[in-house]
Amino acid sequence: MATVTFDKATRIYPGTDKPAVDALDLAIEDGEFLVLVGPSGCGKSTSLRMLAGLEEVDGGAIRIGDRDVTHMPPKDRDIAMVFQNYALYPHMTVADNMGFALKIAGVSKDEIRRRVGDAAKLLDLTEYLDRKPKALSGGQRQRVAMGRAIVREPQVFLMDEPLSNLDAKLRVSTRTQIASLQRRLGITTVYVTHDQVEAMTMGDRVAVLNAGLLQQVDSPLGLYDKPSNVFVAGFIGSPAMNIATFDVKDGRATLGNADVAIPASIAAKVAEEGSDTVVLGFRPESLTPASSEETGGIPVLVDVVEELGSDAYVYGRPAGPAAEEQADRLRSDQIIARVEPRNAPQKGEKINFTVRQGSEHFFSVKTGERLEP
């Protein structure tokens, strides 16, 4: 087991100017489950492959524990790519299916037996070791395939979108299995996905990448509660955060007739950067329908209502007299609000929402960075 360190690691593909991964600094702790997430082309897979030794590193260094592996061939790095090939061999026993790669690596018979035995115990496969794969259930077979990676006792597991070829239902159950197994094993794991829900449910910490740059690395809740810039704010969370550019005037942020009070410190920071606008973000659960006597708020025309039983979401667009300007300044496609289930508004209704005070997120219009009150 070991730490993994990306130290200003950079990858520039031949014939391109812009790095695919740009000076990535990331310290992954021993035993940690770290998820790399971001939209396609953000550099997450390239980062993983640099660690695996499949991509060259053009600048900086990568270390596993204290070993500099930057230019080491893949097989000397003591890593295992999990789930790459999980076909099992029909005529070999479960034990042989798990241990055969060790035989190729020249590991002694006793050592193979010990490692296979340990892995089988972890995976609840001990009583099946002498059987053929055919006698196993689908789930057991899948665990045998995992066992193949586990017996190598690598310092780091690497997983590149391992669930992408499963249907939605299986993806959910398999992701729970992988996460709980990783916790039992305690082996440092780097996991790549484009799916932010997968990232949030699996990772101890999640590193968000965009356009080759690390945006933020934090616990799932940390990312959700304090996104460090507009990109992370929009990427993390499902349904997504509502984000729009508001005018700042007299201690309030306004957009047409939408009106939100802001802390004095935020107004001061906006003034400091010589700006009179601010990017304001609020999550669907931060919106509450205003009572009729309340002023300000954000008028919304309901387009779609999603009733999930435990929750309900309203998807709508700005209504009110300044609707056009509001829609222009909205960074997301629509306004999303969580409402009381079983009592949700109807499509076509107009509702005035207010933002729960203290739950707003502020970002600089100039840099996109988070502004802390």
Partner: protein
Amino acid sequence: MELRILAAPREQQALLDLPWDMPLEQWPEWYLVALPRGISRHVVRFTRLGGNVYALKEIVKPFADREYQMLRDLARLDVPAVQAVGVVSGREAPGGEPLDSVLVTRHLQFSLPYRALFARMMRRDTVDRLIDALVVLIARLHLTGFYWGDCSLSNTLFRRDAGAFAAYLVDAETGELHNSLSAGQRAHDLDTARTNIAGEMMDLLAAGQLDETVDPIAVSDQVVERYEALWTELTEWEAFDVNERWRIARRVDRLNELGFDVDELDIVTDIGGRTIRVQPKVVDPGHHSRRLLRLTGIDAQENQARRLLNDLDTYAAVTDQQGEDEEIVANAWVMDGYEPVLRAIPRELRGKLEGPEIFHEVLEHRWYLSENLGRDVGLQEAARDYVENVLRHKPDELAILGGTSAEADTTQPFRITWNDLQ
């Protein structure tokens, strides 16, 4: 969702008649052809439509689309791979539950999965030849910038090639096309190949289908060694003294011998002009098969082509036409030698082997027969004897058939369907 069949019009028609509203695993037997296949993690079935055999693989839609595109790209790059026919998506069971997409590829005629080869013969030299064919395929793929990701015997099909084999890529699911590959990507591909091949051999051994003298680990190590040797020959800089310029020609000859044409050669002389350094820049596989195709119009594998070209040379010498224009001699050889032999094969035996392979075997047979009889046996006589005593007793290899889908375990030795997990 509506059923969508993305394919060429002719094949679309045929594909329409299949029961797409059923999971592939439940298709009734009359739709299916039982072909042995390698170890797969998906449900794979074969079906016959309008005289062609198709392979069907059930897989989630993004993967089906991706692999379809990848196989099309590989075809454009002239890589030996199975031909993608189409993707069927938007499938639904009668109850409305969605079913995974199906990737359709055309079954490669006269191709043999390694398990079919081992079911009949398992000699050491067969193993060596399979490995050689696979190594050439990997090197070709790497030269084109293709990272396989899951190289194995199961993901390869073999065709006979004048006593040896030519390998074809069957599964591009994990593949990626790059401008060129890094050393790490190549090394990882080989490492995967090594592990998979050793596993597949160990499995054959456990099944009693492999000669006990074959050591799976030694065989898999051989893959790496042979690949490295071939890769060096294909790509390495070579330095020598200016007086040894003949070594340039020798490098080209060696590459030709390995079956590669050199389209571009990078030659650098140092400042003093004493040392020359040479590196092949663009190498193109299929040296002999291209030459044979140009001269005779016969489409053959590399070793078959080499064999036929040798016979063509002998023909030119024997008929005293060595000074003649090459194409004229080639034409005469086709009329006098090649075609009469193939015409001598009864129609019902033509599905046994491909034409060039039959001609190669007749040449071999002629040699043995002449030695036994102590006189030179003519091509026609050799062909007649070959048909009666050899070809007639060979299995039909146009499409290896055997077993039924009722015996899926023997015909499709093993599969994990992820659907089992529910």
